[in-house]
Every structure is written in C-alpha cells, then in structure tokens.
Symmetry: D2
Amino acid sequence: MIYFLSDYSQGAHPVVMEALQRTNLEHTGGYGLDEHCRHASDMIRDLIGDPDADVHMMVGGTPCNVTVIASSLKPYESVVALRSGHAYYHETGAVEATGHRIVTVDGINGKMTPDMIDKALCEYEDEHTPLPRMVYISQPTECASVYSKAELTALSKKCREHDMLFYIDGARLGTALTCRDNDLSINELALLCDAFYIGGTKNGALFGEALVIRNNEMKDHFRFMMKRQCGLLAKGRLIGVQFEALLEGGMDSIYFQMSRHANHLAEKLKTGLSEMNVSFYSDSSTNQIFPLFPEKVVLELEKEFAFYRWAPEKDGYIPIRLVTGWGTQESEVEAFLDNARELLRG
Amino acid sequence: MIYFLSDYSQGAHPVVMEALQRTNLEHTGGYGLDEHCRHASDMIRDLIGDPDADVHMMVGGTPCNVTVIASSLKPYESVVALRSGHAYYHETGAVEATGHRIVTVDGINGKMTPDMIDKALCEYEDEHTPLPRMVYISQPTECASVYSKAELTALSKKCREHDMLFYIDGARLGTALTCRDNDLSINELALLCDAFYIGGTKNGALFGEALVIRNNEMKDHFRFMMKRQCGLLAKGRLIGVQFEALLEGGMDSIYFQMSRHANHLAEKLKTGLSEMNVSFYSDSSTNQIFPLFPEKVVLELEKEFAFYRWAPEKDGYIPIRLVTGWGTQESEVEAFLDNARELLRG
Amino acid sequence: MIYFLSDYSQGAHPVVMEALQRTNLEHTGGYGLDEHCRHASDMIRDLIGDPDADVHMMVGGTPCNVTVIASSLKPYESVVALRSGHAYYHETGAVEATGHRIVTVDGINGKMTPDMIDKALCEYEDEHTPLPRMVYISQPTECASVYSKAELTALSKKCREHDMLFYIDGARLGTALTCRDNDLSINELALLCDAFYIGGTKNGALFGEALVIRNNEMKDHFRFMMKRQCGLLAKGRLIGVQFEALLEGGMDSIYFQMSRHANHLAEKLKTGLSEMNVSFYSDSSTNQIFPLFPEKVVLELEKEFAFYRWAPEKDGYIPIRLVTGWGTQESEVEAFLDNARELLRG
Amino acid sequence: MIYFLSDYSQGAHPVVMEALQRTNLEHTGGYGLDEHCRHASDMIRDLIGDPDADVHMMVGGTPCNVTVIASSLKPYESVVALRSGHAYYHETGAVEATGHRIVTVDGINGKMTPDMIDKALCEYEDEHTPLPRMVYISQPTECASVYSKAELTALSKKCREHDMLFYIDGARLGTALTCRDNDLSINELALLCDAFYIGGTKNGALFGEALVIRNNEMKDHFRFMMKRQCGLLAKGRLIGVQFEALLEGGMDSIYFQMSRHANHLAEKLKTGLSEMNVSFYSDSSTNQIFPLFPEKVVLELEKEFAFYRWAPEKDGYIPIRLVTGWGTQESEVEAFLDNARELLRG
C-alpha cells in the first residue's frame, strides 16, 4: 500500500529523531522553560525578524487555536472564520467550549476576502450580538490554496480598520511559504498578523507547533492559558528540541526543504494527472491535490493507494484527496501516475 | 408620540396587575415552589393536553433558550438554528457561553425547512465535528411568518429521524396560534416538539415565560440548571400568578385575546398600507409588519410615531418595523394610516 | 400560620405596587435604556456620592454575582470567597459555569478577615494555579453579622495591596446599613469596594437589584455581559421604577425604613428569647436570628410558625432561622415570643 | 549538577526511543486509530483483567483529568478532591474552565478518607448547590503516600453508596504499585474505580498517559470530548508505540522496573538521611521524599544538586523535595548522602 493519506501519517524526519536521541538524557526544567525552547524561540524571532515576539511551544494545532482565541478575546467577543476553516470544521467545537462564537462566512476557493469580514461585521448590532474581534484564517487554506501578499495585506488592513485581531493558522505554513504561487516572505506574513503558528506536526516533526505572538496585548499571562486549555506539555523541551533541529538554517533549513519536497511531489502529481485530462475539485498550490475520478477508477486505485474520498460523487466523479509529505517518495508518485494512466486508458 | 416600537414597551395587562396586587401579601415558598406556579403549570398541562409535561416558570426568553440547550445537550453536541434566529442573532452568544455551537442555516421567509437540517447534518462528519442534536426554531418566526401544520410536522419528522431534539421558541406564541394563517392547535404544536415556551413578556405579562418540557430525557434536574444559568427567580410565584391570570379560560383567555387583538391591528395596518400600494420587506402573518417607505416619508413618520428602521435603504426604500401589542389602540393604527396616506399622496 | 421563612416570601411594599401601576401604560425603550432606569441610577449615584459610578438594573442576585465575576476576571483568574458565601453555597456553581474558580476560605462568625485572603494567596504559585484576583463578601453576611468600618477597611486595604478587586454582595444591604451594630455609611462602603449591589428582592421590591460599579476597569461592555449571562430584562424599566419608588428620600426612604423595621423586629425576637435564656447558633445583627430549641419545642412551634431548621440537632438543640421582613407585623413577633415562652416553661 | 528536580526532567527510557525509531517510517491512521494504539490498549486490558475497558491514549495528565470530568459529569455536578490534589492545585483551573466545581476537602498525609466525602456531601443541599458526583484522588498521592487496599476499598464503597464516580489520577501509578507499602494489584485497583490512568510522562515515556475507563456510562462519545478538550494527538500512535514498548511483560515490564528503580533509590535516600537523624516533612512511600534541613545546609546542597524547596522555613528547617526517576543513578544518591552527611556534621 502506498500512502497519500495525510502529511502526519508517518513519524518524524530523521534529523528530529536524532536530536531527540542526542538530548534524551539531559535534565531540564519542565513546561517549556528550558534552554532548547529558549533557543528555538530565539531562532524563530530571528527568522521572522521580530525580536519582541513571544514564542510558545504548543502541543498541537487545536490547543494553539483554542488558547489564542480564549486568551485574546473577552467573553462577549467572537471570531470570524470560514465555514471550511479548521477551527470551525475539525475541532469539535473546542472554540465554543471556551464560550466564544465562531461567526462563519463562506469562502471562495478556500479563502476569505475583506468583504466577507464586512458581511460578518454587518451582522453585529449592539449588546445583543457578540462583537466580532478576531479574524481566523489558515495559510495555506484547507483546500491547499495560498493567499497572495496582496490578499493577505487587504485582510490585515481590514482587520486593523475595525480593531480586529488577525490570527493565521499555520499548520502547513512551510508549504505555503515555499510553493510556486507564493509571493510572501515569513517576515512579511508576520508583520501582517497579530499571531500565527509554524506547524510541526504536518511538516516532519514528531508533534508540536511553534506559536508566535506579536501583538503585545495578546501576550499577557499566556502561559496560564496554555495550562488551563491543556496545551502545556510537561516535557515541553521536546518541542523546543525539534524546532531547533528543524529550523537550523532558516529558509534553507530541513523544515522548508521538506515543504519544498512535498510541494514538488504534489505538483508532479497534479501535472501528470492534468496531462491525462483529469479535472480537479479545487485549485491547490501546496501539498494537497483533489483530482476527480469516476468511481470505478477510485475503487481500483484504493487497492494500492491510501487516500480519502473528499466529497460525495457528483456528475459521475468523486473528488479524492492526495497528500504528499516529507516522507513521500518520487517513486510513489510515479506509481500513482502510472496506475491512473492505465486505469483511465482502460 | 404613538408607539409601534415593540410589544414589550409597555407594562402588563390590567388583569396581571390586579392579580399581582391581590396576591401581594401572601406568604409562599420561593423559587417557583408555590401554589400559584403549581396551579399555572396545571392549567398549561390542561391547555396542551399533556398531563406529564414539566412546566417551569422562567424569568425571560434568553434564560429559557440557554437553559434548555445547556441542560439537554452533551458538551460535544450542537444546535441547528437559522442565522436570523433569536438565540443566534440577539442573545450575545449566551448559548456559546455554555459551550455549545449554534450551526446556522439560512432561512426562507424566516423559516427553516427539512432540507436545511439535512444540510447541517451533512457538515457533520465524526468526532472532529460537533454532533447536531437539536433544532431550534421560533413560532412565529423573527420576521412574523408562521409555520403551517404541514411545515412543522415535516421538521418534527426530520428531527425524529435523526434523533434530534426539536425546540420551539414561543416568545410570541400567542400571535402565531391566533393569526389568520394559522392551522395549528397548541396541542398539535406541543405534540410535534420536545419542548417549547409560552411567552409572557411580549404578550401582556409584566415579565416571564412558561417553559413546557415534554421529552422525559430533558426533564432531569432541570431546576439545577435553571439556577446555574441565572433563570430561577427568588419570588418565582410572580410568574405563576401572572400565567394563572392570563391563561384562565384556555384559548378564550386574556392571553389569546391579546394576541388576537395585536394580530387584528397589524393586519389592519397591513391592509391599509397595501391599499396605498405600499410594499413589504417580508411576508408577515402576526403582529409585526415591515412596510417599505422612501426615506423622506420615514423621516416624517418618525416625527409622530416610534418604530425601528429594520434594514438599510435599498432601491430608494427603507423597511421599517411596526409592532402592535396588547395595548395598541385602534385609533393609533388609524392615525398611522392617515398619516402615511397623506405623506405618500404628497 | 405565621411566617418567619424568608424576607422574599411576600410580594412588594405597597409603594412599589403603586409605582408599577402608575407607570404601567407608559411606552419606554427596553433593556434598561429608559427614563426610569436612568433616574433611579442618578438617585443611586447621589446616594453614594459617586457621580461616575455605573449603575445597572439586574434581574436578581445570582445574575449580579455571575456577571460581575465573569465580566471582571480574565479566564485564569479566581475569586476568593467564604465557604458559606452565597455565590459559593447557594448558586449551583453558576460562577464556575463561567469558567472561574471560587477559592474558599473558612469564615469566623460569617466574616472574612485579611489573613484569610493571605492564606488564599499563599496557595497561589505561578501559571499552574489560578490567580486570585477578586474578593467576594456579603454585607450583612450569610449569618446576619455585619462588618464594621474597621473590618471592611482592612479587607479593602488588603485587596488593594494585592491588586485584587473587592466586590460586596448586598442582597440585604439595607439591613446592614441600618442595624444597631452598624458604623458605616453607604458612601463609605462604596468607597471601600470596586462594586456592590443594593438588593431589592429581599427588601421589599417585587424583584431586582441595583448593581453599582465604581472601578472603571470593570465598566467596559458590561451590558454585553448582562445579556450573555441572562441578567438583562426586556422590560428593564420595571426595576428602575421600583428603585425610584424605594429610594426616594435617600437614607430616610421607604427602602431603609423597611430595613429598620425588619431589624427592629428581629432584635425584639432576639431580646425576648434571650430573656427566656434561649441561646443562639450564631451572633446576628440584622434581620435573621438563629435560636436553639429542643426538638420537641421546635415541633410545637412548627404547628403555628413557618421557619427553616438551620442545621442538624446537636447536644439536644436544633438551630432554627427566623427572618423578619418589611411585611412582618409586631403582633406576629409577640405571638412567637408568647408561644415560645409557654413551650419553654412547659 | 545532579538532578532530583522531577521525574520528568529527562527524556525517555531507551526502549521507548528505540520503539519510536523502529516505527518511525510506518504509515498509520491518525488520532489514535492505529494498530499500535489498539495493541497497547489490548495489553492494558490484559494487564488489568478487564476485556471491556476502554483505553485512550492521552497527550498528558491535565487533558486526562479534564476530559474525564467534563465528559462524565452533567453541568450541575461537581467533583470532590483534596485541596492538595493535582487537578485542584496544579492545573490552573482547567476543570473549572469546563464549568465544574471542585469541592475541596483537607487530606491527612495527602489522603482522602470516606468521612471527608461525607463532609462534602453534607454541604450539598438541593438545586441551589452543585451535586457532588465524582471523587478524584491520586495514587500515589501528591505527597508520595499510597492508599492501602483497605483505604481504597473504603473510598470505593463510599462512592458507590452515594452513586458517585471514582476516578484515580495515576500520573505516578507505577511507583505506587511497586513500592514497599503497597498491598494492591493493578487488577484490584481497576476493580475499585470507574476510571484511572497509567502515567507515562513521569515514568520513562517521552510523554503520554493511558486512560482506562471501566464504567460503561463514562465511555460514550469519549473521543469527541478528547478532541474538544485538546487531548487528542494527531500522531496518536506515538503514545501507543510507547506503551507497547513500556508494558511488554506486564508487571515485569520496563514500566514497572523503572518504578521499582525509582522507589528503591528514594528509599535509599530516605534511609540514609534518617540515619543522619534528618526529619521529614511528610511520610512518603514512593519516589519523592521531603527531608527537612536548616537553610544553610540547603544553600550548600543547592550548589551541587537541583531540587525544589517545598514550603517556607518553619522552626529553622526548610522542607525540600527530592525526586528519583528512571534515569537516576545509584551514584547520584550516594553523592547526595555523602554531601548531606558532611554538611550536617560540619
């Protein structure tokens, strides 16, 4: 079986395993108060060019989203997000569990636009309606598209106009910053938002995400909230050790190399399938593609490849999701293309 | 100034004031455990023909909605409601404050349909998404339309098919059950849902709503939840006394007479304006109407009448909301019609 | 049956009923945005001598406590209260329902002392423990004792030293300010705390409490929180109308006259029973007394008088609670004393 | 520097690192739905002799406690715990964040007794008080004592009498089950409670705990709650892989060998210090000891050893905490004893 199931179906890049092994017997303080976390945080402040940013080593993406929202908003404030956004769609109401509404808007190709924020603001009246105070997006989006610099700038500007916080879920940030369609540096992205995270889980770490908080008003007592929201790891250093290993070298680090590799193989899949006249469910730029196949082809592909069916059949075609990761082999991509070519020809 | 502002802008029907005065010096137990609450509850059980229903005297509509939802749903369960629904639109996130998501759907003429429930269910996948477990609607709706027996039956059936609870916000229930377009008895409505409330605040009570819980699974420890969610009044008997006075005589009681009166005057307004070729923002059946006027007419009307502008100007017209209540006078309606006639003629 | 059950077992003082009747047909804005609420608020600002205080008309005591706490504290902050405090003991976890811990301390004669606050602060370590940020007390206390000016000043000073908010539950504030043991003016009390409420429900109102917020940091967006926490009444004016009627005349108003009356009759009961060598469960100063009787006496008293047994029998005696209120008659007190005298003699 | 700081200051036992390395390139499903988690769960069901238990691989101890409590209790129910209990003392109000009160009782030598549960139940009255529905304890306790079989049986019986759930926090369970004072098997412990967890973080795992739910009523939709409460790891298999490696061999597995090792070295420290006439702050049985030293000795010890001061100086002595772990060396213990001997002699 060849896997295009997800980018977190394998363990970690060897460099991560090696770093964990090498530091295994060190004694350190707990809960992220150790040299590795401090060093990794410094590396990230360097990378984004903001010496004043707070960096927190978080155990996962949901704790990142939940803790940022619960920590930054007053009880009567809400967060605007896409209906397809991860915090809305795939976190079992973890945000509402902290008492905050997610005001949903419908995206276009997985993206939010400034007028969608306007629409959400229009629904706000007065003390009888929660006050929209944060915009939540993902870069890349849930359907693997990426915001351009102009698009992100427009969202950022709209947020600032309305005194809204702008938070970017970067579960797969590496693939956005290294894809062909990208025109943004990580420094520029950091400047445009109030907080974002650099995802480890979906890009070659064993687990863990590095949360960056730039807005001073969001920094206060954040570690209290991490503990309260179950996002503080006793052996917090494990996350620090991983990011030290992954980010060494900045944009040339293993972290971004892995993203480039995943993007490259996704693009190879996409190009290959396009040449077979396969259509796509959505227009993606990073390491997930969504080709459409007739059910009988899907059934055959499922015998040798693992992937998700992404939506119900429509007009005779089923969209499937193929995800590439740091561990995906060029030969696996070729095997898929060969197989598909044969099945479509048949 | 003549008021069409809301149906809760005045005090209470004289029969309510008289009952409160008459019982004022009685000593009773607190928190709704008194003879008046028991008697009013019995009257309601008789009215709806369900001797096993639990009836609770609640201090307001928001506490009703919040307590029912927080008490009936498990933490990971959500409630499906219209984006225009009161619990979503006008309660400042009080539902989310208890940790539950409201999954919104867009209504048609203020109404939900079974396929909208299907759509909400489609968004549910597995343990990564909150489980939709309740449907919340209002009868009449927020735009003064009413569900027919067939429509309500279809929603009820859909809920039961999917093991969802069906809850009806009856803040203005009296006007629904007595309007010209109604084809439902209160017994039928009660049978179709799991819980609903009979609104007092917007229909001639000083304050208070009578919540009816028919589904046994929703009855357990409800009074604990009333206290926890700030919906239990120390002098709970005040609400019992009011409903005793209001509901004496069942469908011929003062309660329903007031609703008929409000509906009648709203209809008179609507008919009168229609004869002047005024158009309406939405199609209403009960005590709220939404005529469209040019801004200069609205400005003139505002000099003598109090009402809300309901939405921004569009195509040269502004929708306003006119609400009639138990205390609205026939002469006040005539004054409005005369005024409008003159202004439109001018 | 003669009632010493509670001070909220009857309706409202006639002056309240008269005011509600008189204003019944007025049209006003909803949700406390009306002339009566504004006027009552001005009267309260005058009474306490703080023109900058925010005053909110709340539907009950639990909503007051919950809304103040949920609005003022950050999610990781806790409130220090007596184990016997109302917000801990009699509100079904309504505070914890908003995500905040109540850190309990054990009182002495129902009172908190500065060293109890120190003890609570000692339990605080760092980001692994909620941060104590508010002190909650009641004046008078749950066992009817009152804090002296010196005691309250010491608590206030301790709070300010530790940047803690100081909030006073004044459900029965009138009886504290008018009892024989009182040495505090309402102005002085207001100056010592950040927020407090003037209770209506337990002192002759139909229902409702007037919340006073003096600390600017606690004022922001409070009405949003009132709605979210189910404490905002649609016909909010009802509470304004009542406080207008009750507080006319300041310290000589009906409000304080009723408190003096209740205190006077409680004192008469206490003195009378003391003369019969009856002992008391706790030392009270206001309108609740806790005499100890042998069970056979209690059983006889229960035939003609309604009251609560306050704690289990101990050493052959049962403490009962006798509460006097605005409606208690001197003759009722005499009847109790005569009865007790006879039973104890027998 | 020699570390007696905590049992989670180092990485993982080599057998864990080896297993993670060996399985690193496998592709598996996410979120704990993989063969390793299934296998580890089977091993645990075998170990405790309950084929029907549900086992969940949790990311940490706080998520265990929070998810079990939030999932099992209705909103108005509370959990009884020691004031010194981890869920109360060291989790920043994470339980209250889910809306539940922790009713605290004061322990004796870190332990709860049945009469403390009675005392908590006495505080419960009716719908005005949260209903105590669960008892939370730790085995071993926060001060390293262990409940005997008789003590645990008495607590279990008391819980069942009052229809309360009994949950045991087993962050350091291995050390309890292997210490000299233990008279309980893991099967017996499992039978006495409704749920407990086998801690990994503090006993040689990289991170992760294995939660065991025996009570059917607590099993329902638990994975939804894990996600909602931030306790579900994307690469959940990492925890499964670790427990597979740790528990191979049951009571003779590496897991329990490590606990025996830690206990042995703590006992050696304790015996050695006792021979020097050192007193102890509390009576411990497992891998934490609390010797009392004069400040000047503590200051000297701090130059070569890392440990926590546990409480303020009293009567000239400071209690310090020494923790041994899987990685503590016999020579490190000897070094401490030698050093202490010399300092005390001096």
